[in-house]
Symmetry: C2
């Protein structure tokens, strides 16, 4: 994981891929989004979607899961190379989340993140703000998910 000072606008990271099995779709939705078209095959077949689809919040939560794993790998790699790795801080929120296409059982999403802007912060001098566009494409290279987020990012000078 780079420090804030090393982050450049235009940087793109592949953060990982995830296959949405029917089991995973139903497990998330049963706990957090039990709408018929997420948990019930027959009701889903009769819905607008014509079949089971993943909850949009599941698609977003998997982004977070992959982001954490990606960050952990980057930190391990930095330590292996004898370096020190930056921590990702909290996120104050995000904007414009779009679920552009349904995610169906068996679909594999490839998640990427692109740095769109970076900003110093007055209130937390040991952190900078990094603005990122996150997106996921399916196995047919269709864009299915996108949002613009912002996170606090550790500075080298604050480590």
């Amino acid at each position: 994981m780079k420090y804030f000072e090393d982050v450049a606008v235009g940087d793109v990271s592949e953060i990982g891929s995830f296959t949405f099995t029917q089991e995973a779709i139903k497990r998330f939705a049963t706990a957090y989004d039990p709408q018929p078209f997420h948990i019930d095959d027959e009701a889903a077949a009769r819905s607008l979607y014509g079949g089971l689809i993943a909850s949009g919040w599941h698609v977003a939560s998997i982004w977070m899961k992959l982001m954490v794993a990606h960050q952990k790998n980057e930190m391990a790699r930095a330590r292996h190379q004898g370096g020190v790795a930056a921590q990702l801080g909290p996120s104050p929120g995000f904007r414009d989340m779009v679920w552009a296409k349904p995610v169906r059982p068996g679909d594999t999403l490839h998640y990427r993140v692109e740095v769109t802007a970076r900003k110093e912060t007055a209130s937390r001098p040991q952190w900078g703000l990094v603005f990122m566009r996150s997106f996921a494409d399916n196995q047919d290279r269709e864009r299915v998910f996108q949002f613009d987020g912002v996170v606090f990012w550790e500075k080298r000078s604050g480590a």
Copy 2:
């Protein structure tokens, strides 16, 4: 559940409350957001937050869970009164999600939704678009979570 024709700008619905136990916080985060300050008490105590906090995606997913339950109750009530209830349709996305304050073990969030605008759609004449501001306040009446969403809403004329 009202039909699109009955939805008015300014309508506010209490959709429900949820207490974020330590167990619930760790269960969600272990599966979807395993950052140290969501799953590990000691690491959380050393973090910026000074203690365990809920994943922002957990706070959002509970909104969805309560919304589905609220909708189900409204439909049951409509059927009980001999009426027919509208279905909520898919959401194309949302905007400006803000996690304004940390959610800690034992915090109870009260979720509400306010209709901010409504619009006809050309592409799907049996549905209208309803714009909603959703928010959650904690037991101290502090605003901890907010976002602006939009959903397709069934029309009476399309039922």
